[in-house]
């Protein structure tokens, strides 16, 4: 026999919207802050956007991060960023654009030479090297921007067609909320903005809409069944009715993302983490943000919801 996570609930979600809005404004501000940083060129952009070199090494024996850093500094790589993965004795070295100029294709070689010399007693394999010229970085950046804009337009158009305009706008707002929140949180965590993160954010945008659509569908259905009830009541009971499915659907995706974060390896760790955080925020926003926006928009007006089926 099945289990029910939540019995019949009766929570006043619309009534609590003020707290939710405050919380969301904080989250979104973090995101906008990191956007501004990006625009001013101060954000932590990955080398795929900024241009630069990254080298990942896999050592035979455990090594000291400080020693690696010192070795690079002594040999003229002052601005390198190092990240150590204890599992597998791995070291990721990234050097952003400025040092690339004029010597493209040579930075990785130099780094390898430094480590062969300084870590002569600890052999290493080259896991990967990546070198990206500034021009490619720019075109990847442009492509990412176009992808974000096109998919945003696509989703708004689809939702506006399927639902009332106010729902489409509110759903889009909730989606931007989710994306910006994750961006802001990543900024605070000091993670870099790279192609994989943008991919994660776009995926998240698509997925977070799923939850919102589930709630909207029910609101629309109930508005038809109970045309005389006040909007907040209809919304509240709709959200309560679909609460358990909203949580369960998120939970299954949450579970696989946990598996990805902990077992997927370092290459997609941040990507999976973004999805994981995003799913939590997306679930929150579909309950506490998406519907209350529609409520604020329409509370004074006579409710007339177009129903296309």
């Amino acid at each position: 026999m099945g289990i029910e996570l939540l019995g019949k609930t009766n929570i006043d979600f619309i009534g609590k919207r003020k707290y939710a809005f405050i919380f969301s404004v904080v989250l979104v501000s973090l995101g906008i802050f990191s956007l501004v940083q990006m625009w001013r060129g101060q954000a932590n952009l990955g080398i795929d956007f900024a241009g630069g070199t990254s080298v990942q090494l896999k050592f035979e024996k455990p090594f000291q991060l400080d020693k690696a850093r010192h070795a690079l500094e002594v040999n003229g790589f002052k601005d390198s960023e190092l990240q150590q993965f204890i599992e597998g004795n791995k070291l990721l070295i990234q050097i952003k654009k400025s040092e690339m100029t004029g010597s493209e294709g040579k930075v990785a070689d130099k780094i390898l030479a430094v480590f062969s010399k300084e870590f002569a007693d600890n052999k290493f394999l080259v896991d990967s090297t990546t070198e990206i010229g500034p021009k490619v970085g720019k075109s990847l950046r442009d492509d990412a921007l176009i992808a974000v804009i096109v998919s945003a337009i696509g989703m708004i158009v689809y939702l506006a067609w399927r639902f009332e305009f106010s729902f489409g706008v509110a759903a889009a707002a909730a989606t931007f909320h989710d994306v910006l929140s994750v961006l802001g949180i990543f900024n605070i965590l000091g993670k870099e903005v790279n192609l994989l993160l943008v991919t994660a954010l776009l995926t998240l945008a698509g997925y977070s809409l799923t939850d919102t659509v589930v709630v909207y569908d029910r609101i629309r259905e109930n508005l038809r069944l109970r045309p005389r009830d006040p909007l907040d009541q209809v919304m509240n009971s709709s959200i309560n009715e679909v609460l358990s499915r909203t949580i369960v659907t998120s939970l299954t995706v949450f579970l696989v993302c946990v598996a990805l974060v902990f077992f997927g390896g370092e290459v997609i760790h941040d990507f999976s983490l973004a999805l994981l955080i995003g799913i939590v925020i997306g679930t929150y926003s579909s309950i506490f943000v998406a519907s209350p926006i529609v409520y604020e928009w329409r509370k004074g007006k006579k409710v007339k919801i177009r129903t296309r089926r």
Partner: protein, 533 residues
Amino acid sequence: MWRSIQLRAGLIVAFLALSIIFLIPTLVDPLPKWWGKFLPMEKINLGLDLRGGMHLLLEVETQKAVESALDKYASEIKDALAKKDIPARQVERTPDGKISITLPDSKANDRFSQVRADQYGNLKVASFREQDGKFLYLLEMNPKEAKAIEESAIRQGLETIRNRVDQFGVAEPVIVPQGDKEILVQLPGIKEPQRAIELIGRTALLEFKLVDEENSLEDALKGNLPPGSEILYQKVAEKDTGVVTRRPYLLKKRALMTGDVLTDARMRIKSDFNEPYVSLDFDNRGARLFDQITAENVKKRLAIVLDNNVYSAPVIQERISGGKAQISGSFTPEEATDLAIVLRAGALPAPVKIIQNVTVGPSLGQDSIDKGIRAALIGAALVVVFMAVYYGLSGLIADWALFLNIVYLMGAMASMRATLTLPGIAGIILAIGMAVDSNVLMFERIREELRLGKTVRAAVDAGYDKALFTIIDSHVTTLITAIVLFQFGTGPIKGFAVTLSLGVIINLFSALIGTKVIFDWINLKKQLKTLSI
């Protein structure tokens, strides 16, 4: 009803069989011999990030090809004028891509105008002025001709690189043009990335130039470079210490012969010193030219220059006919082999610059595959257990749909020869998580209908009907992003978009048909009073 169940079950089984057939070449190695005769051989491709390998984006510096065409014009004009005894000073390419010509008097100018009209009508006069009795011309190339040169530089570059890679021996390389001036090169499973870069990125322009023995090298090094000459260097490695020094040479700028007359180049070993060198064979024209050059310049030194590096500058002892020469230097056997390859494949018409290089070693690739599979198994196990616990027997039906989903997805990928990347594996895992979403939506709806007191059969039907549009809506939004990512993403991200969008579409099928048919069948066989959901 029974008929409809049979039909749907048939569809499910047919797709399942198809998927498994498509998957077998990926999973079974080697295949039995009879397989290829009437069954598909397509495999799921592993992306470079999983397989290990090298991804290079090269920018062809096409303006250099235009410049060398201008250089060629300049030297031709110079020859033509010299032949007709027209005195001209400074026939040169200017830095902004024109040819400047200065004529000392009006007589020379008249005769030059004749030559220009007869032979070089395709060069336009960009400017002309008279100054102190001299006549100064600036000629420029027709933009159409320049464009054609640039395009052919890309085409030839592509062809040359393809030749080099073929001769180097890489399985399944990808070498395609991208954008206006770029060439994408993907070399899966390459073991010596550095060597491959040397091989691909080298211009390999071979030139034979005379050493300028009339002027002093010391003077030239101090800055008094005689016109028509240049300083190039030879790298000399000390045998014992390995210290590399650069030895300067003063050479005549003009190349007497270039590598385009080669028919073959091979690595050989000098038997007495056990030293590798590269032997060159010229074609008829080259052999004639070489014969003539050596005959005219006995006792002079002829430098062999590759990409503006001097390799050797032997004294011509006697006229050499027979169309053979050799390049020696202190090569390792690999260096000599690679040099022979690039000479055989020919020079790039314009130098290339590596603007993107992503190299993944085989260790990381295998590591990523292992971790990806582990994460997928753990993720799938978590979901399967959760569904079974939370929805009881109905949960098992959802798990069945999940199984269908994964097999269909892999089968579809194999049939399309899609490329699986690490983010692609993440896409599959994500699709696993989403696959049960549709079932969750339906099950919750069925629970609601049951609560209203409907019979099991009515509740199942109503649940499916009412959840249908929600399910479609929610899939479409994910599909939109997946398609956009496919359009704008590169490499690994494209792999993610492929698995995610396929996953979403297959998901719709397996959720709407794969599970419903089981419920219908159960309902038909027994009149259920209660449903484990």
